[in-house]
């Protein structure tokens, strides 16, 4: 496949739910996006925003009214039933509630997508063992889903989704029913699989922290419309849409300072010659020891009140809230220096 053609190419996609009695509901309106091979593409939105519908248009679980969805260069809606099934075999999908078959063991669930076709039973068993190894569940092969934790069930579902060696994995709120630690380990697994198998991941979530942890691209969807899309780092560093900003605020504790300032907390009480400052890391080039540098070079005392810096798509992103004490000239000099290093500066209290 020509690598310049996106794996998933969506153009002006519109989907309307029609029902006789109620008013028509527009689920997707004029959605366009490209997902390239090797992307971990995050789609974020509030519930009911249309993100689940969007991902289901990619594997043909939902039809659409107008526009185009091309997967590996072929229009999904025009596929014959047989071709649609082969598209789905090459496009794994995992779900919020795992959707494992309760009557089958772990191995039986993973074997399910392999039942079709000419694969012999012993070959299937070998493939199942391989897949369970991949998700780290080899010793649970004979257990039933009800005996597993949520995280383990999702691992089984991931193994099942990978059975036919897909090059796309659709993840529909796959971590939304899991606790934070399990979420982390499942996301880590997805990332590892992406790195080792080169699989393209399309991930739907309502949690910005999920996007921040593993995605390289993001689309923000609101009421069926994409309000913002781009590289994750760029969107986090400089969000445009109000919805994006509010999602980002949920991932950072830097906004707590606003509450503290409003409450006049003793933590933010100032003596003469002190200022409270927010430093934001919005450029990919930040790698120096900025705090200790300004402390030494401008003879300042720098007291970090809050810090929230994360590595997003390989670069540090986030910021610090600091209390700086020193002479006015020195503080001014430090601010100039920080600005020259592409650090966002905001004086919160002086």
């Amino acid at each position: 496949m020509n690598h310049r053609i996106p794996v998933v190419e969506i153009r002006n996609l519109t989907k309307i739910y029609r029902s006789g009695e109620e008013e028509d509901k527009t689920a997707l309106a004029d959605v366009s996006l490209d997902i390239d091979a090797g992307d971990i593409f995050g789609v974020i939105g509030l519930s009911g925003a249309g993100k689940s519908t969007l991902v289901r248009c990619i594997n043909g679980l939902e039809g659409y009214d107008s526009g185009s969805v091309k997967v590996r260069g072929r229009e999904v809606q025009d596929l014959t039933p047989a071709d649609l099934r082969s598209l789905r075999q090459r496009t794994g999908m995992i779900f919020q509630h795992f959707n494992l078959m309760p009557s089958r063991t772990v191995a039986g669930n993973v074997e399910l997508p392999l039942l079709e076709g000419s694969v012999w039973k012993h070959q299937r068993a070998a493939r199942v063992a391989e897949l369970l190894e991949l998700v780290g569940l080899s010793d649970l092969a004979d257990h039933y889903p009800a005996e597993l934790s949520g995280g383990q069930q999702q691992r089984v579902a991931i193994a099942r989704a990978l059975a036919n060696e897909p090059d796309i994995l659709l993840s529909d709120e796959a971590t939304s029913a899991l606790d934070p630690n399990t979420t982390k380990s499942i996301l880590q697994l997805l990332r590892d699989l992406h790195d080792s198998l080169g699989i393209t991941v399309v991930l739907i979530t309502h949690e910005m922290s999920v996007i921040r942890q593993i995605c390289n691209k993001i689309a923000v969807i609101d009421h069926g419309t994409i309000v913002e899309q781009g590289k994750v780092f760029d969107v986090f560093a400089d969000p445009q849409a109000q919805l994006t900003k509010s999602f980002i605020a949920t991932t950072s504790n830097l906004d707590k300072i606003t509450d503290l300032l409003a409450q006049d907390s003793p933590l933010v009480a100032l003596e003469p010659g002190q200022v409270i400052l927010r430093m934001s890391y919005v450029s990919k080039e930040v790698s120096e020891a900025l705090v200790s540098y300004i402390s030494r070079a401008f003879d300042l005392d720098v007291n970090i009140i809050f810090g929230d810096i994360d590595v997003v798509d390989g670069s540090p992103l986030g910021g610090l809230v600091v209390k700086i004490a020193g002479t006015d000239d020195h503080i001014k000099g430090a601010l100039e220096y920080l600005k020259s290093r592409n650090i966002g500066i905001e004086i919160l209290k002086s």
Binding site: N59, L61, R85, M101, S103, L115, L170
Partner: protein
């Protein structure tokens, strides 16, 4: 023991072979019509599930035909249906009386009910299972076989138990129109000839029979469910 039974159920004890024969006839009628109806109802129930509005092979025409036929047959009281079917029964089975003549009307009478039961058992499956199966690229037949019928087994067992209990009731009803079995025995002797002990003995046997079916169904469903 025997003397006690003789004292309490004189008319039954004096007709023991006939009583056992009636019991066997009832078991045969329930068994044969139940098995035939089970397979028909699976086909119809699955047909309804896959062709319904959100089904994996949505088909309004097929769905509506099946749906309306079921409603039509279910709206006819069974005793009237059995009477109306007599000419067809005679044509198909060669006779309209006895257990042999009862099987056809029983199948026609119970299948609409059974189909609805199967439909609701399958409709109760988590739609997520079906969606997962579709997302794997499974065909309609594979989804029916590997998902609906397999994951539906516990629920199918439960509705089958319910249906067998209804079917036992219907076998008693066909007794009235010449079907034989315990129903016929109880009506002919217990009701028409005022042998009250016959009626009571029949009730006791049927209650035990139904309790056994329900116990068996429950145990089976429990063993199968994980």
């Amino acid at each position: 023991m025997t003397s006690l039974l003789n004292a309490w159920f004189p008319n039954v004890m004096s007709r023991l072979p006939e009583f056992f024969n009636s019991l066997v006839q009832t078991l045969v009628m329930v068994g044969v019509s139940g098995v035939i109806s089970f397979f028909l109802s699976l086909i119809i129930g699955v047909g309804l599930i896959v062709t319904r509005r959100n089904g994996i092979r949505r088909n309004g025409v097929v769905f509506n035909i099946l749906d309306k036929l079921i409603d039509l047959f279910r709206s006819i009281p069974f005793i009237i249906l059995a009477a109306a079917l007599v000419p067809v029964t005679r044509l198909l089975m060669g006779t309209a009386i006895g257990p042999k003549g009862a099987i056809f009307p029983l199948v026609v009478g119970i299948t609409p009910f059974f189909s609805r039961q199967i439909e609701s058992a399958l409709a109760g499956l988590d739609p997520g299972y079906i969606e997962a199966a579709e997302s794997m690229g499974m065909s309609t037949w594979q989804i029916i076989w590997h998902v609906y019928l397999r994951e539906g087994i516990p629920a199918i067992i439960r509705v089958t138990t319910i249906t067998i209990v209804s079917l036992v009731g219907e076998t008693a009803t066909v007794g009235i129109v010449g079907g034989g079995g315990l129903g016929d025995f109880a009506i002919r002797l217990g009701y028409q000839r005022y042998m009250y002990d016959v009626t009571i003995a029949t009730i006791i046997v049927l209650v035990i029979f139904i309790a056994l079916i329900e116990l068996f169904g429950r145990l089976l469903a429990e063993v199968i469910e994980h």
